[in-house]
């Protein structure tokens, strides 16, 4: 790579952090967020849920083991830029197919290193995640300001449209699978790991564009429906929510992350934006039915609100909520801020989780969720 040029991060409130350009040499604007996971950088940037966002990694050394096909969570990088403290381009790691920084350049993704990321993160933690951008030093700060101002805020944004597939694709079943479970998913930006884990457990997964209608879905041979994760504000996806409402009760429905938020909205609950979201691989989530605690992979900026309003759930047992589809039980809660992490509809076959049981990146503590879901479908 050529000699590093200086670059800077500018936030919409005017806060500036200087560093060195280490990716594609243009600028990028969007919502500046941070993730506290210490490994799994490639999985993160290819996670469609990061669409429209600039990822700040709190761990200083990013790129230590390069990148490889196996670690892709989708077919491309979705985050708009990467902000790091001490980026590395290790090409010779055993599983590396390419250096991390070379790859970012190939993919045309701007990146900046040598930034005091901890100072940046503390600022966002206090002021909340906000719009901002990564700019080559050549771009004047005044111009940068305008570019940021021109970027619509995350609240109210429909980004699913940007990441959803043009037409349906079918995945699996894995060779030799008997007793196949046919899962049809509304793909608002699904992670590859989710599909892999479903297929590995005997499912055949069909991914539909998020514009798919309930009629079309109900007309399929689906044994169950799946609501995928994805970027943006669930409140901006009324059309998808309407579709979901049509599905509930007809077949088992399961959702993860954005999918969880969509289902909750479909049954009459609300969602709201968190100050700086949950992004990392160390959040403790309690299963209120078993008392077991899972260390979870998290990546969301919005959360479901309780019927009585507010995001904090003080109750420590599976409280019952009335929804448009009868009673629901709160199944999981985040032990950091006691936000909703999982819900189950008791009168129809349906459940969702806010966190990422598929890991990729992060701990595997919650993989059992996939078994539970498919077993429920098989017994349904």
């Amino acid at each position: 790579m050529s000699a590093p040029m200086t670059a800077y991060v500018l936030l919409e409130d005017g806060t500036r952090f200087d560093g060195l350009a280490c990716g594609a040499d243009h600028h990028a604007v969007g919502e500046v967020v941070f993730t506290t996971g210490m490994s799994g950088y490639q999985e993160s940037v290819t996670d469609p849920s990061f669409a429209g966002q600039l990822i700040t990694f709190t761990y200083p050394h990013i790129g230590n083991y390069g990148v490889s096909e196996a670690a892709m969570e989708s077919d491309r990088i979705h985050s708009r830029a990467v902000i790091m403290r001490a980026a590395r381009n290790t090409e010779d790691a055993p599983t590396a197919e390419r250096g991390w920084l070379d790859w970012l350049v190939d993919c045309g993704v701007p990146a900046i290193t040598d930034v005091d990321t901890r100072a940046l993160v503390r600022h966002i933690r206090q002021a909340g995640s906000m719009r901002g951008g990564v700019f080559p030093a050549a771009v004047a700060e005044s111009e940068a300001r305008e570019l940021i101002a021109a970027e619509p805020p995350m609240a109210g944004r429909n980004l699913a449209r940007e990441v959803t597939p043009a037409e349906a694709t079918v995945h699996g079943p894995a060779p030799g699978t008997t007793d196949i479970v046919r899962v049809h998913a509304i793909d608002c930006g699904v992670k590859g790991s989710i599909v892999r884990h479903l297929v590995a457990r005997g499912a055949q997964v069909t991914l539909h564009p998020c514009t798919v209608t309930a009629e079309d879905l109900l007309a399929t041979d689906a044994d169950a429906f799946f609501l995928a994760n994805g970027p943006g504000d669930p409140a901006a996806l009324d059309d998808v929510v309407d579709t979901v409402r049509e599905l509930i009760g007809k077949r088992p429905v399961w959702g993860i992350c954005l999918g969880h938020q969509l289902l909750c909205r479909a049954v009459g609950l609300g969602t709201t934006k968190l100050p700086f979201g949950h992004r990392g691989a160390n959040h403790p989530v309690k299963d209120l039915r078993t008392g077991r605690i899972e260390i979870t992979s998290q990546n969301h900026g919005f959360a479901v609100t309780a019927p009585q309003g507010g995001v904090r759930i003080e109750a420590d047992e599976p409280v019952r909520w009335n929804t448009d589809f009868g009673e629901a039980a709160l199944t999981h809660v985040n032990l950091y801020d006691r936000t909703v992490e999982g819900l189950e509809l008791l009168e129809v076959e349906s459940a969702t989780v806010q966190y990422h049981p598929e890991a990729g990146p992060g701990p595997n503590d919650a993989l059992y969720q996939f078994d539970r879901f498919l077993e429920a479908v098989r017994n349904a």
Partner: protein, 1034 residues
């Protein structure tokens, strides 16, 4: 599950003396446990034979027993205190083995004591490599191909299948003692033999070698509800083959993909479940093949360990505290994370910095010792450092080592440096970095070391452009367990180098407006500067806090209590170099700095600090110089009319030889350019001196510095004194009489408080001279003086105007915390205001300190005691009488007095008449008496049967053969005054090498005889510090 209310009293076992593989980390974990359990309202009964620990301070437990960590004594304590439960997981391998023994001999069941923290079965499963392997296989985990052997033949039979090189490791030994890597068949035979010897259950594990694979450790915690968290991952920069304790390690792991790391995480969780550790922390070690991504389980420790102390300090997650709470019934979810004040502890810390640990070695102290690192731990301490990048952390940790002597790299070619890396030694990274600096390539170094190229690439950058590593400004960041995701409330800081913000460095320190005092710690443990100094620093912090000021600690030793963020108001985890310390002082702006408690480390910085205009509290830099400068000190002694051994200073060989005549032989010689009292030797003639000076010629290029010559006083009794002085008044804390004669370093010899055989007049003289010295030097705080008593005369050997190694021992013996009192003086109080008793040493009990030596770990080095300190730790025995206290100390030090067998007696003529008394007592208790000619005659004359054996000169089999054959269980030998090293010296050295108790004074011999007599009727009665010191100010 909440707090268990069925338990009231809990016994905690400490880890005993500091030995290689088991150091201060267990004081840190023990203190945390004591604090927590008492906070929770439990009564704590503590047992630890090591007086130099904070946990044995009386205020940390309801009953504190400084008693031997052996089944007999501990059983007696249990009978006396009747605890409901025993918590053995915080005292290292020692406590675990002891708990196992107490279970097996039925004591726990008989007295209804529940083992908490780890079940007996779990301990066995983790510790017995056989059971462990079984458990792993059942759980579907892989381990290196291996076999268990209990005899040499079994081992030979397995060699084929295992293949060479093979890893040979004994079960149940600390730091892998007695193990090694066999590359050839005869190496295999040899190591198998020593391994079987070393293992208490004479069992060894033979392992397929995975030398060169990556080595990783995970710190795991589990609670009753089977919730498991990984506190921290640690990657060894040294690949498999170098003991983790000797490896440079880094947290978090750097080179594994998330996918592979998550597999390690899953396996660690499987291991803790399979072994059946229901609550608490465990350390799991893995070998990972970076090419094939194969993972092998190496071992697990079902307890708090060295690595968990490291993990706690590296993440801010207090493992020991939480382990203690889990042991009494809480679940992780019910325990707060005191750093973020956010419930609960059931999360995994994430960090946004890099931590590097460096081992600290002491091979220079063990001439002849094999310095090649292997599966058998040899380091004596460690330093840890934080940085925002690996390079920053590595460089900071490297300079935190405080080496006495830099490895000589200049004289070696780059090829030699690279070649030397083939077999890892304590200097490997110094050589590696230098080689990279000179242009060696990452590939060639990887080829010889197998160190992951990622690290080598980082080190290459550090070696070739160090200035870039530290580009930007020093910025203090906090350690918060969560990478800034939540506000942290714990003031635990490190410095990283960052681009400044618009208004300068973006420090996170909020020092408030209160006055603060900075205490400089002691840095990495090493021989001569151990945990005692950390003990003093912790006391200083407590005292500063009590005074209403903020206590600020600077230290870089992860094992210690001083680097527990609970100990001070602000902790800066930084190297103790002038530059780094000044960096802290710039943001702290303290009222003053304390350099008196951290041993030599802070003293070395004193002058620089004063130059920088930093106010020091207590004794002035000039007073320190007055004590250390031989000329000035000699003048002071002369002025005070105190005697000192004749001495001279020379600058050349000829000058030295000339001066020697004036001073008179024998001489104690030391070159000034060697720090840390190293290379001291006793010479008996001009030839001896010449020979010494040749062997200690200064490094090429350097000028021969000063050579110090002292008349060596033979057969003198050495005395140590610790005193307080406020500039006007002096208070004598303790006078200690050494058991070994002067010539054995004060740190290595046993000592007795109060003195057992110094007359009242001599004691008065000692008090008088100590007073005069303290005032003459202008001490404000602590003073330690070493004297030699010879023929009724008192000689001053040296005076150290600072906290000494003996401060904790004396404090526990007299029930007055000397370091705290000294600190109060330094903060401006007068002795009169401290409420001290008029006489420190009361007659109602006797305390004995015994040193613990690491010779068993340094194959090749001779087990010789001399004027240079070799011991790593110490134990204390307290009783109502000297014999019993002595017996306890010997037992605690692992050289228990024998109950039967053969005693060898040889004494100088003056002592012969009295020697029979010893012989009589031992004979009456069925001992066989053997002696050399003269002594034998004297004993026979009194009608006691005695076997005469040869002196060394009289040919084999002579006395040393007897000792080496193991035919002698006890030695009583008072030095004879003759010239060069006599039989006596050889005898004592042989005895010490084999852990045979050896008494070098008549009074010591009598004490031993009486103790043996007493012990045959009953185990010595345990005494708690609280019983002994009723009423004394703590």
């Amino acid at each position: 599950m909440p707090r268990r209310n069925d338990l009231k009293r809990i016994m905690i076992l400490g880890s005993g003396p500091i030995v290689i593989g088991q150091a201060a980390e267990f004081d840190y974990s023990g203190v945390q446990a004591c604090k927590v359990l008492r906070e929770e309202g439990y009564e704590v009964v503590l047992v630890n034979s090591n007086p130099a620990t904070i946990m044995t301070d009386p205020e940390f437990a309801d009953a504190t027993y400084v008693e031997p960590l052996l089944p007999g004594p501990v059983a007696r304590i249990i009978e006396k205190e009747r605890p409901d439960a025993l918590l053995p997981t915080l005292g290292g391998q020692t406590a675990l083995n002891l708990a196992k023994a107490l279970h097996e001999d039925g004591t726990l069941e008989r007295l209804g004591v529940e083992l908490i923290g780890a079940r007996y079965e779990a301990i066995c499963c983790a510790e017995d490599r056989d059971l462990f392997r079984e458990a792993m296989e059942t759980a579907g985990l892989r381990m290196p191909i291996s076999a268990i052997a209990t005899t040499l033949d079994e081992a030979m039979a397995e060699m084929e299948r295992i293949g060479l090189p093979a890893i040979i490791r004994p079960a149940f030994t600390l730091g892998g003692r007695g193990g090694g890597i066999a590359r050839t068949e005869e190496e295999y035979r040899h190591i198998v033999a020593t391994g079987l010897e070393a293992s208490p259950i004479s069992q060894i594990l033979l392992d397929q070698s995975v030398l060169g694979w990556g080595e990783f450790e995970l710190e795991v915690m589990r609670d009753h509800n089977d919730n498991v968290v990984i506190v921290c991952s640690i990657e060894n920069v040294d690949p498999m083959g170098v003991h983790t304790g000797d490896s440079v390690t880094v947290a978090p792991q750097q080179t594994l993909t998330d996918h592979l790391y998550q597999q390690l995480r899953d396996q660690a969780i499987t291991v803790i479940r399979a072994v059946g550790v229901e609550t608490g922390g465990s350390n799991v070690q893995f070998a990972v093949n970076p090419e094939t991504e194969e993972i092998l389980v190496i071992e697990m420790n079902p307890r708090v360990s060295r690595s968990s102390a490291l993990a706690s300090k590296a993440t801010g997650f207090p493992i020991a505290k939480i382990a203690a709470r889990l042991a009494v019934g809480y679940s992780l979810e019910e325990i707060d994370n005191d750093i973020t004040q956010l419930p609960p502890a059931s999360f995994e810390p994430t960090i946004d910095y890099v931590v590097v640990k460096w081992p600290r070695f002491a091979f220079e102290k063990f001439t002849g010792a094999n310095a090649v690192l292997s599966t058998h731990m040899k380091s004596v301490g460690e330093a840890m450092a934080f940085g925002r990048t690996f390079q920053q952390a590595f460089a900071k940790a490297m300079r935190s080592r405080e080496l006495d002597t830099r490895p000589d790299l200049a004289s070696r070619t780059t090829e030699e440096l690279v070649a030397s890396l083939e077999r890892p030694t304590s200097e490997r990274f110094d050589a590696l970095v230098e080689a990279l600096r000179r242009g060696a390539s990452v590939d060639e170094i990887h080829a010889v070391t197998k160190i992951d190229p990622w690290f080598l690439t980082e080190l290459h950058a550090l070696a070739t452009a160090p200035e870039e590593t530290f580009a930007g400004v020093r910025t203090f960041k906090s350690v918060d367990t969560c990478a800034a995701e939540f506000p942290a409330s714990t003031p635990y800081f490190y410095s990283g180098w960052e681009r400044p913000g618009p208004d300068g460095p973006r420090h996170e320190v909020d020092r408030g407006t209160n006055r603060s005092v900075v205490i400089l710690g002691a840095g990495p443990n090493r021989i001569g500067q151990g945990i005692e100094f950390d003990y003093c620093c912790v006391h200083a912090a407590m005292t500063v806090r009590d005074s209403g000021r903020d206590a600020v600690m600077i230290n870089c030793n992860p094992e210690t209590v001083s680097t527990d963020y609970d100990t001070s108001d602000r902790l800066y985890f930084e190297p103790l170099t002038l530059e780094d310390v000044l960096g802290v002082l710039e943001v702290e702006k303290p009222e003053g700095v304390i350099v008196q408690f951290g041993g030599q480390t802070p003293l070395k910085l004193a002058a620089g600090l004063v130059e920088a205009g930093i106010p020091l509290l207590g004794t002035s830099v000039d007073a320190i110089d007055l004590a250390e400068d031989r000329g000035r000190f000699g003048a002071l002694l002369a002025r005070l009319g105190h005697e000192a051994p004749p001495y001279a200073t020379a600058h050349s060989v000829d000058e030295a030889l000339a001066a020697a005549e004036g001073v008179g032989f024998p001489l104690l010689v030391r070159p000034s350019y060697v720090l840390g009292g190293r290379a001291m030797e006793i010479v008996y003639s001009a030839d001896g001196l010449r020979d010494y000076l040749d062997r200690h010629a200064p490094p090429t290029g350097e000028a021969r510095g000063e050579i110090f010559l002292d008349r060596f006083l033979e057969n003198a009794i050495e005395v140590d004194v610790d005193a307080l002085c406020d500039g006007e008044e002096v208070w004598i804390g303790g006078i200690m009489q050494h058991v070994e004669e002067a010539g054995i370093h004060s740190g290595d010899s046993a000592c007795v408080l109060p003195p057992h055989s110094l007359g009242g007049d001599m004691l008065d003289l000692i008090r008088e001279q100590t007073r005069a010295l303290a005032l003459g030097l202008g001490v404000v705080g602590l003073l330690n003086v070493q004297y030699a008593v010879l023929g009724g005369r008192l000689f001053v050997i040296e005076a150290n105007p600072r906290a000494s190694r003996t401060v904790p021992f004396v404090s526990k013996a007299i029930g007055v915390p000397l370091a705290k009192m000294a600190c109060r003086i330094m903060l401006g109080e007068r002795i009169a205001e401290l409420g001290l008793p008029s006489e420190a040493m009361r007659g109602d009990h006797v305390s004995v300190k015994e040193a613990v030596l690491p010779f068993d770990r340094f194959d090749g080095s001779d087990a010789l005691l001399g004027p240079e300190m070799r011991s790593t730790g110490e134990v204390m025995g307290i009783a109502r009488d000297f014999p019993t206290a002595f017996a306890k100390a010997q037992a605690a030090a692992g050289a228990a007095l024998p109950q039967e067998g053969t005693v060898f007696i040889t004494v100088c003529d003056a002592d012969k008449p009295a020697a029979f008394a010893i012989a009589q007592t031992l004979h009456d208790h069925g001992f066989r008496i053997v002696a050399t000619g003269g002594t034998a005659a004297a004993i026979a004359r009194m009608g006691i049967p005695v076997v005469t054996i040869n002196k060394i000169g009289e040919g084999s089999p002579h006395v040393v053969d007897w000792i080496e054959r193991g035919d002698v269980q006890l030695v009583v030998n008072t030095p004879t005054g003759s010239g060069a090293r006599t039989d006596g010296w050889e005898i004592r050295r042989a005895a010490i090498a084999r852990g045979i108790p050896c008494l070098t004074t008549l009074s010591g011999g009598l004490a031993a005889a009486r103790a043996i007599a007493a012990a045959r009727t009953r185990d010595p009665e345990p005494l708690s510090l609280q019983e002994i010191h009723v009423g004394t100010p703590a």
